[in-house]
Symmetry: D3
Subunit: 130 residues, 6 copies
């Protein structure tokens, strides 16, 4: 695995910072010692390849991802990163609440309630940081 | 359980026909004998209550639902109904493909491949019906 | 979304207090600011509609729900609310342990172990409150 | 792995035939060539150990298992075996429908709809066999 | 998205043919019209990047993947592709049966039974093709 | 349920101590009051029966189990026990990291990231204990 930074890596790193902000940078940092290659792939494939595509805009991408992770219900830290990202790219708190209500239909009320509680935590954490 | 039709039921039934079209009506028909109350609730809560909300538009709702059901990967018949619904409310085939690519990141390549295969089936079925 | 309280809401609110007790009221309280509509729906559909049905008695309903949430394994806070509810409506600790053993067969030993640990926590919390 | 039949095996085999009937025997038959040891374990642990316990009666066990497998939504053949088993031990069609309605709350409407469709298939298959 | 084939693509395409054989090529073919970009990514990331890594040998990789997909239980077509791949790289039928037995502990007997039935299907399909 | 210890129990208890070490003993201890029968079954079936089989060696078993539990993503305490077990039977930290990278393909990046974070925690806990 060569360590020279590819175009995909550079594009991914910019995209990650644009969308996820500090929360995304922290995820990458936490991987430095334990799995630098997973850090590299996380930058290259999700961000350098997929998020850099332009058919869906950032808002739509984050709405889809927040819906999916709320429905799956087994990755709360990443759900919170993406709720943050959604707020960063202009999805409103009200729209995020709305996605959770929608998920009560497709994944059940426990998923909707846990998604809403993650949303509440993110909003409070953002208020503190202001 | 009284059988008079509530406002929620009427509103839900119109919404279901608007969004899901014949595929949605078929789901309700199939429940007639076995579980008329589940049919009633399916009309009232998902459609009469949730889909009738107006904070997210129909396009955004369907994008969120298709993403969630692709990620969950355990409800192919309903995923196909919602791919159909998404096409009905103006989400393009290309945008749906894009959601599947996005899900490869969050739920893995098998979910993305199965979602794409469901999309392909729906497109072919719609072509036949034309 | 009109704010007048429907029959379903009133019936649901009574049912929620009857079955879930304070734990259920706390869930609704926690939603007040962030998503009052999800609070309303949680009262109306799960409790006003579904829990108010009388074909299965409360004991049977809670046994089914505890089994399902133990098997899914991704909603511990709600599992604990329902273990509490089950104890409230007369399911014994021994019967709840038994459900967890049963789930080792259908969802694997990790689900059974996590369900049993949730049961243990609930029992200890109830002892403290006496 | 010795081939002499243990007490657990004998007890499990009787229990399997009592509860699952021919559908259960067929599952074991299908394993004969490919994995005789999985057949043996399926008889010994789920039936010889767990189903032979007497704290929950057969009806309650099947209600819990049908609820769990409807919620998980990824094992339709086994869900159908257990819907059959539930009918065999005296759970009514109406009660099974009711479990599916209950699961719409905890695992979402797609799980409830797929569970109800499995129930419908089982009822039709049983009618044919009469 | 430029169409010139990258090193990762070429390496991935060779790796995919080496491991998955015709079954893998068929997956890529089926994506040609509907989502050529998902085809490209499937070659580049899973095969060009991940499968080309050399810390785990091919046998170990396939054992891990078959275990994971048996446990998840929601992607039978891909499970069958990987059972095939495992047999291609030298995992024996007996070892694959053994993985299914192991999964009965961690994901429950339904997952183990469905995994074993997928294994049986693959073995029969391979016999036909001989 | 007789309390005399069967051969399976004795063999399972030795196997559990051999593979999981103190972390496994702690799991059994925690079940003592709440569910002694689940403790007994956990020793007898997973360890006395399944882990005592000799077709796959301990290393291979732990690789399969860590992969499966990382993919399922809903049983972090048990995943950590098995990461520990894997290290105990000679799987290296690097190989475990590699399994997490592999899972990014099949279960998505959130599962891979959470698995890697569990690995990091286990490594740090083991360093403290030295």
């Amino acid at each position: 695995m060569d360590s020279t930074k590819t175009e995909r890596f550079k594009r991914g790193w910019e995209k990650l910072k644009e969308i996820d902000g500090q929360a995304g940078v922290n995820v990458i940092e936490s991987l430095k010692d334990i799995s630098p290659d997973l850090a590299k792939y996380t930058i290259e494939y999700p961000f350098g390849d997929v998020y850099s595509r332009e058919i869906l805009d950032n808002r739509t991408k984050e709405i889809a991802v927040v819906a999916a992770m709320t429905a799956m219900g087994n990755a709360r830290p990443q759900l919170k990163v993406h709720i943050n990202a959604a707020l960063n790219v202009g999805v409103s708190e009200e729209e995020l609440s709305e996605i959770m209500i929608l998920m009560s239909v497709y994944a059940g009320f426990p998923s909707a309630l846990n998604g809403t509680s993650a949303l509440k935590e993110v909003i409070m954490e953002r208020k503190k940081e202001e």
